[in-house]
């Protein structure tokens, strides 16, 4: 081991400390948490997790979140693929302006849009559905997906397209059976970022739902205020929100760094 490796090791320890504290708390009873400081759980309990896995108002929070995040990821990638192809292969009227306008939507503070979004989705009758959150998150995920995919597509030589057309491939067949498999790493990276930003966002998800599609993050805030502070339960619910992201990141670990490096700007 070299001396300079101390820097990432210290950094990773710093990252893991608050996570450790959350996980440790999730195995404590709320009484033990409130009665004083203990570095490790004294009376190890799975009670908090049992509550979450048996109470529908808790576990439906996870199902709701996973549902709208998945719908959002599928929509974002599906519409971003042809758009990114257009930006990477053709020049057309207003292309640069359009690209920059797309990116500006990444800059809009969610707080600005919370109330108008509520009115818009109530007006079209989608309020409190998974579709409302999935469509609303498209605002910042589609621009990001276009940005990342365009970067990956730029790395594919145009000769690939031309050869396929000379060989008699129709455009849809070429796009689906040749082009998409060529950039599958890019699709993975874009899907990862869409998943991530939709999973962690709360303000819009909370504004657009009431009961039927309530995300887990909103379930947590409400339980915390109504039942006093159920810290153990809160910690267990928090710990469980880390798991889906951790699984997804494991699958794309070799691509994430590449994703942005190949992007444009």
């Amino acid at each position: 081991m070299q001396k300079r490796h101390i820097v990432p090791i210290v950094y990773i320890l710093f990252l893991l400390l608050p996570i450790y504290w959350l996980v440790a708390m999730s195995f404590k009873t709320t009484n033990e948490i409130l009665s004083g400081f203990s570095l490790f759980p004294q009376t190890f309990t799975l009670e908090n997790y049992a509550v979450i896995f048996t109470d529908p108002s808790w576990y439906w929070g996870y199902i709701n979140s996973i549902l709208y995040v998945s719908i959002n990821t599928v929509i974002s990638i599906a519409v971003a693929l042809p758009a990114a192809y257009a930006f990477s292969r053709y020049r057309f009227l207003g292309d640069k302006t359009l690209f920059f306008w797309l990116l500006t939507n990444r800059m809009a503070p969610a707080a600005v849009f919370a109330l108008p979004f509520f009115q818009l989705y109530s007006a079209v009758g989608l309020f409190d559905t998974h579709w409302a959150v999935a469509l609303a998150h498209c605002l910042f995920n589609i621009p990001l997906a276009v940005w990342i995919l365009e970067g990956f597509m730029g790395g594919v030589p145009k000769e690939l397209d031309e050869t396929a057309f000379v060989d008699g491939y129709s455009f849809p067949r070429f796009f689906i059976s040749i082009f998409i498999p060529t950039i599958k790493a890019g699709v993975g990276v874009a899907a990862f970022f869409c998943f991530m930003f939709s999973w962690v966002e709360l303000l819009l998800a909370k504004t657009l739902t009431a009961v039927a599609a309530k995300p887990i993050a909103a379930t947590m805030t409400k339980t915390a205020s109504s039942a006093g502070y159920e810290l153990g339960l809160l910690a267990a619910a928090g710990t469980l929100t880390i798991i889906p992201g951790a699984i997804v990141i494991y699958f794309v670990r070799n691509y994430i760094a590449k994703g942005f490096a190949m992007g444009r700007v």
Partner: protein
């Protein structure tokens, strides 16, 4: 050379429709509110640019804006150099690379209110790990619900914890894309570590660093959930950043006109500063 083809618009159309639906209609609603006054019951009165004038002169807005710039400035000054330093000292190949990347990305995948709640229980003076360590082991009086300075240190530390990894991942991606030949040439010339950093690594990382600075600027400038859950804007108003103040006005007091005017000014500032960063950092490429 790219081919001119106006049919490409058809490919962009679905994206355009979806994003426009989400961006233009709410934006028009905001503009509509910003020029009107309401007393409830769906009664609206024309207010012209009154809200904008009042807002631009109000101390409350100036204070929140000042706190927001201080926060974002500190975040960029800390996270960008720290991220580069960590990326430089990470291993380049082998078993530890994916381990580092996965653990470093972990904080970014936690829902934002969980991040806030997690730092809250981490810093509680008597039962949180950090709070207990500071108060009882080091004997430093540390309680972020009482002391504005402690609250500031806590939200900055939380954001460094949450987002430095994004800078690390991007800078690292830039570093691994440098061919070995560059380093060998530098070695033959007897270049110092500093020279390698200044003339090889920094220029090669420039593109990804531009993305890192832009993303960190936009996201820290728009931050809401984490500080809201952690401090609620307090103690007093000491950590009331722009978004927190905006939500207070819009949803707490239901003052739609002033909130809408504030939203537009807020968005305009974000756009302007992003554009400035973008032009400054890419101007060498244009010349």
């Amino acid at each position: 050379m790219k081919k001119h083809n106006q049919k490409a618009w058809l490919f962009v159309l679905p994206v355009l429709i979806l994003v426009a639906f989400n961006a233009l209609i709410p934006m028009m609603t905001v503009v509509n509110y910003s020029v009107q006054e309401t007393f409830g019951d769906n009664l609206f009165f024309w207010e012209g640019l009154g809200w904008f004038e009042k807002l631009l002169r109000s101390d409350r807005f100036h204070d929140a804006l000042g706190r927001q710039f201080l926060f974002t400035g500190l975040i960029l000054i800390i996270e960008i150099p720290l991220g580069i330093a960590i990326a430089l000292s990470m291993p380049r190949k082998g078993f530890w690379v994916p381990v580092c990347l996965v653990t470093m990305a972990l904080p970014m995948l936690i829902p934002w209110n969980v991040v806030g709640a997690m730092w809250n229980i981490f810093t509680l003076p008597d039962i949180g790990l950090l709070g207990y360590f500071m108060n009882h082991t080091l004997g430093i009086n540390y309680d972020m619900t009482q002391d504005p300075l402690a609250a500031w240190i806590t939200i900055i530390t939380m954001d460094v914890w949450h987002w430095t990894s994004l800078v690390v991942l991007l800078a690292y991606a830039g570093l691994v894309s440098i061919p070995d030949a560059y380093y060998q040439a530098a070695k033959i010339d007897g270049a110092s570590n500093w020279a390698v950093f200044r003339y090889i690594q920094i220029p090669k990382m420039k593109n990804v660093l531009t993305i890192a600075i832009l993303l960190r600027f936009m996201d820290s400038f728009n931050i809401y959930t984490e500080p809201f859950v952690l401090t609620g804007g307090g103690p007093g108003n000491s950590t009331t950043l722009l978004s927190i103040d905006l939500v207070k006005i819009a949803l707490g007091q239901f003052d739609l006109g002033p909130a809408a005017a504030m939203s537009l000014i807020y968005f305009a500032i974000t756009l302007l500063v992003s554009w400035l960063f973008y032009t400054l950092m890419t101007k060498d490429d244009l010349n």
